[in-house]
Amino acid sequence: MKDNTEFIRQFAPAQHHLHMYIRSLVPNFSDADDLLQEVAATAWTKFESFDPQKAEFKSWLFGIARNKALHSKRRFLRTQNLLNEVQMINAEQFFLNDSSINSDERQDALSECINNLSDEQKKLLLGRYRDKKKSYELADLFKRSAEQVRIQLFRLRKVLKVCVVEKISI
């Protein structure tokens, strides 16, 4: 039987990209978290049969995720047909090609860019992404409409996107 730690050792670095891939298949943070958990459970139980000669571990995980998203009968029905099969393969390639170095570099740049935002703007991002607040909840907190909150977040993402690209290309 393969070691727990061997599985964790291989799974940990692939997790972030797997998570992104799953979010592209099932674009809902909460459902994607559940699906990731299912993929991890399946990968663990099938880890014995994983043959590194035949496939890369990350690619093997992506395959499990794709199958889960396509065939899961219990959940994800609302969004499981969002992407067609060609799009799924393209998405897989996109996230497989995103190396850990790239994503670390992006994350560092993002942190620097966010540091330049005002406290209010940071608070809005934290409310949305960390505290998982809906736009109407943020609207209450920030005394504006839900639509205005969504627009403000859109603008922030736009500013951050440009900032991150600039920092990485320096």
């Binding site: 039987m1 727990n4 730690t5 599985f7 964790i8 050792r9 799974f11 940990a12 997790q15 972030h16 998570h19 992104m20 979010r23 592209s24 674009p27 809902n28 943070f29 909460s30 978290d33 990731l36 958990q37 991890a40 459970a41 663990w44 139980t45 609302r78 969004t79 047909n81 969002l82 992407l83 067609n84 799009q87 393209n90 998405a91 996109f94 996230f95 995103d98 994503s103 992006r106 994350q107 993002l110 942190s111 966010i114 406290d119 608070k123 991002l125 934290l126 949305r128 992404y129 960390r130 998982k132 809906k134 736009s135 969504r150 627009i151 977040l153 859109f154 993402r157 951050l160 996107k161």
Partner: protein, 613 residues
């Protein structure tokens, strides 16, 4: 692309309607460019989520069980798989039981989270949350294993003495075992026969042994015997010397308090915020204003505590002799939350609720908002018990406990002797036995024969006091313990709020905190390095002897009455004074009463040491 981006945001956060999801599908199928934008957008949202989640650790300090962190979730799945593959019906030789002081943890058995389980079984997994701690006792042995906060372990074999430490820290004190305990980490494996040690896996594996020996294996070939007072990590794999400190958490009498503020969010009883003070007090009862600790109106350097509201969280393990249902009553100036054994109980209009208690330790937690109240001495919060006859009584301090590894370690008699910089019995003369120096006498204090203490020094409350060496010469500019026995004929004579016991002359701050002030303020024992103070909620009485001790160590000020820690508070600066130590006064606030057995140590003494003075 704005429309597409807004739709992606709505979908990801579960706000999109079915029609909007279909519209999203349509938009990303329109062109390759739109599809690539979709993927980049998912990537950016994921990056933002990762950033935001990483902020949690900095902003959220306690009370949130990070159970959904993936490392834990994956660990939970691993053990589910493990349990399915292995089953064993034989009864074990060693039984591990969860002790009742354990907090903020989850036990997973066969993939399910379960509660009210005492004995650990093969395949169980324990996840300990932030601020939590699990104590496991080996049945019929004086052996304890502590799973420290943010730890994840699973029990691999039938006897549960093969433990897989997936992350976090295990501390243990084990009797000599017939078969060794084995603790496996990601990088090594420790074999323990009987000893006291700490083993952690926080990126790298570290082992620290405080008594006995532990064998640490790294891989198949590297192996080393680590002895008492030594530590090692699997990275360097070199044994180093490491001194002192406690490995095993001890149980102490008292109630822990945590004060939080929030610059970003509205203050609520539920929100996690920035910890601004943490310490120990003797009960759950607070009074408003200058009568109680920081919760006072007078402006000081720490006046934000009273000017701005802050969240007060009070926690203690309540020892109950047998399982029973008790009626508790919470009185509070503002709304309050009561939790018992981590379950929230709603209070009725009278602030009462019936709560089932288990035998042994039950974790009580009270939350309310402090600050901004008037200096009126009314109840800010209190916790009482109502018996079957309707009699109301405060929960006794003697039944309230907390666990800590941070308490000051005990000093030996020799160590105490060498730390003693001043020993003034004040029974018949003014000679300091620690250094042979005679202190300078001001006024006309006299020695009297006290019926309880024998010969002691009496001070008149008007002009009598003593002057000793300078504070720095007595070692007060670092960690210290100052103790004495005192008896007040009268507290607050002439309506002055302070009864000075120890002080240095006021000096404008040059570096750090410049003036020592150890006294009784409005009847409350009070410790300050000026503008930087701790006050106990206990009120002393006149015409009664008290043993008082004041301790300072690593930023923590602590006050002891009759050998018991009554309050402590963190975040205080060292004293920086080169003024002489005065005994019996602070400014013109002279003490009216009797004093003897004055001692100064240039080291912090433990609770046990102080109770033995």
């Amino acid at each position: 692309m704005k429309e597409l981006e807004l739709l992606i945001d709505k979908c990801l956060h579960g706000e999109a309607t079915k029609d909007e999801e279909k519209h999203l599908q349509k938009l990303i199928s329109k062109s390759d460019e739109a599809f690539e934008f979709y993927l980049q957008s998912i990537q950016q949202h994921s990056d933002l989520k990762e950033w935001a989640d990483s902020q949690e650790e900095e902003l959220v300090k306690v009370h949130k069980f990070p159970f959904l962190q993936w490392s834990f979730a994956i660990a939970a799945l691993l053990i589910t798989g493990f349990v399915l593959f292995t089953s064993n019906q034989q009864s074990p030789d060693i039984i591990l039981k969860i002790h009742s002081v354990s907090t903020n943890f989850k036990l997973i058995r066969q993939g399910e989270m379960i509660s009210n389980i005492l004995a650990i079984k093969q395949g169980d997994q324990i996840l300990v949350g932030e601020g939590g701690q699990v104590r496991l006792d080996v049945q019929e042995q004086d052996s304890q294993i502590f799973l420290m906060e943010n730890s994840s372990v699973n029990f691999v074999n039938r006897d549960c003495n093969y433990i897989n430490l997936q992350q976090g820290e295990i501390r243990a004190k084990l009797e000599k075992q017939n078969s060794p305990f084995i603790i496996k980490t990601n990088e090594g494996e420790a074999e323990i026969i009987g000893t006291e040690f700490s083993l952690s896996d926080k990126g790298e594996t570290q082992l620290w042994v405080s008594s006995g020996k532990v064998k640490l294996n790294r891989g198949q070939q590297d192996s080393v015997l680590v002895e008492a007072g030594q530590r090692i990590d699997t990275e360097s794999f070199r044994v180093e010397e490491k001194d002192g400190g406690h490995i095993i958490p001890n149980i102490f009498q008292g109630v822990e308090f945590f004060y939080y503020k929030s610059d970003l969010q509205t203050l609520t009883l539920e929100t996690d915020m920035e910890l601004i003070d943490h310490g120990v007090r003797s009960d759950f009862n607070y009074y408003s204003g200058a009568y109680d600790g920081y919760v006072r109106a007078a402006p000081t350097h720490r006046s934000f505590m009273s000017v701005n509201p802050f969240l007060m969280v009070l926690k203690a393990h309540y020892s109950v002799p047998e399982a029973s249902v008790k009626t508790l009553r919470v009185k509070s100036l503002r709304s309050a939350h009561l939790r018992v054994n981590e379950k929230r109980y709603d209070l009725d209009k009278k602030g009462q609720v019936e709560v089932p208690f288990k035998q042994g330790f039950n974790l009580l937690e009270l939350r309310t908002i402090g600050g901004q109240e008037k200096d009126s001495g009314e109840v800010l919060i209190s916790l009482e018990e109502i018996d079957a006859e309707g009699q109301v009584s405060a929960i006794q301090s003697k039944d309230l406990f907390y666990t800590s590894t941070k308490e000051v370690p005990d000093l030996s008699q020799d160590e105490m002797q060498s730390a003693l910089t001043c020993d003034l019995p004040l029974r018949k003369d003014f000679v300091d036995r620690a250094n042979g120096i005679e202190v300078s006498v001001k006024g006309e204090p006299i020695f009297v024969n006290d019926p309880e203490m024998g010969a002691v020094l009496e001070l008149n409350g008007k002009s009598d006091f003593l002057q000793h060496l300078k504070a720095d010469e007595l070692g007060l500019n670092g960690p210290y313990t100052v103790s004495c026995r005192v008896y007040f004929d009268e507290l607050m004579p002439n309506n002055r709020p302070d009864d000075g016991i120890f002080s240095t002359a006021y000096k404008k701050p040059v570096e750090g905190n410049s003036t020592l002030v150890l006294l009784i303020r409005r009847g409350h024992p009070y410790q300050a390095h000026f503008g930087n103070d701790t006050i106990s909620s206990q009120v002393l009485k006149e015409k009664r002897w008290y043993d008082l001790s004041f301790r300072f160590n690593k930023g923590v000020q602590s006050i002891f009455i009759d050998g018991e820690l009554v309050t402590s508070s963190q975040g205080h600066g060292n004293l920086y004074s080169k003024q002489v130590l005065q005994i019996g006064t602070w400014g013109a606030n002279f003490m009216k009463g009797r004093i003897c057995d004055v001692k100064v140590f240039n080291r912090p003494l433990s609770i046990k040491n102080i109770s033995g003075l």
